[in-house]
Assembly symmetry: D2
Homo-oligomer: 106 residues x 4
Amino acid sequence: MSALPLDEELAEFMNERDWDQFHSPENLAKSVVIEAGELLECFQWGAEADLDRVRSELADVLTYCRLLARKLDLDAEQIVREKLAVTRGKYPVEKARGRSTKYDQL
Amino acid sequence: MSALPLDEELAEFMNERDWDQFHSPENLAKSVVIEAGELLECFQWGAEADLDRVRSELADVLTYCRLLARKLDLDAEQIVREKLAVTRGKYPVEKARGRSTKYDQL
Amino acid sequence: MSALPLDEELAEFMNERDWDQFHSPENLAKSVVIEAGELLECFQWGAEADLDRVRSELADVLTYCRLLARKLDLDAEQIVREKLAVTRGKYPVEKARGRSTKYDQL
Amino acid sequence: MSALPLDEELAEFMNERDWDQFHSPENLAKSVVIEAGELLECFQWGAEADLDRVRSELADVLTYCRLLARKLDLDAEQIVREKLAVTRGKYPVEKARGRSTKYDQL
């Protein structure tokens, strides 16, 4: 496939279509949750889902996440790492092990 | 920060806490949309949002997306590229340029 | 409790706080999905949920739905009845009985 | 239209199709957020939306909310009134007037 880094390929795609005008952070945030709803629709009535559909919908969520990150000059990998460090603090291993309880009730 | 690739760092974090048991694809899909709602909450009453909050909520969405991708043996970058190829077909430049119209109404 | 019809009680509450200015249809639609995410959070890790939390979050979803309906001069009961008639047409009993399949795949 | 109360009409519709088996509280909560995403899609790229589409999607959200309420023996009107009383306490008029600030930051 393309030799371009993914973010550049996405940017090229959007520029060709002059779609940047629609991609305010607010509209991208709406788009993330709209696509996340479609992803969940794969699991609406149970745990089993069609893998091709999941792949396609998850791709849509990730696409809008990346567009939003880029729009705000955020590095997608870096913010995940930073948040993980915060979450480590909220969920120490000895307290959180084997429990799905929220941190404020641990 | 960590020298581990991000997916391995996430896996290590989950393993330490024995959280994999909660991370069925269905529960991860639910988590993606729950966090996407929190991301949108940054923009609930308007276009302006606190960047630190957006960064934190977007990180949560991305984290659950990556966990879901890994759980289903999908490569996050690759599925975005594949979907982009599909979208190219649905939105040819000459038709889609400068319009936010959905492909089935173009 | 109040002797006012519910929609009027909600309107009074919003007017006292001068909140109508924030309640564009778009912002209300965002609010519906934000609260729907919180409702789903009650079921994030499984089928069991705390009933008081569900009650509270479902109330929030319903509140924003009613505010949106009123803003657009829609009658909440009537649109549900109308949509049910449409759905009857898409899901005839003989085809849909006992199946969760979407109408376009029946 | 029907002379039945709406909840009974919905129950009859579901019974005819034997759909109650799919309507666990968890699945209904998923359905609420899925439909809420479709409602928001009407406003994905801006404040203007097609009223017929909004009417149809809002009806879907309300339908699943009602099914969930009924499943949990909750009265939709009553829980909205109860929550409104709670919200009154969190947002006193003198503090909240004309502001969209969340209660914990007022």
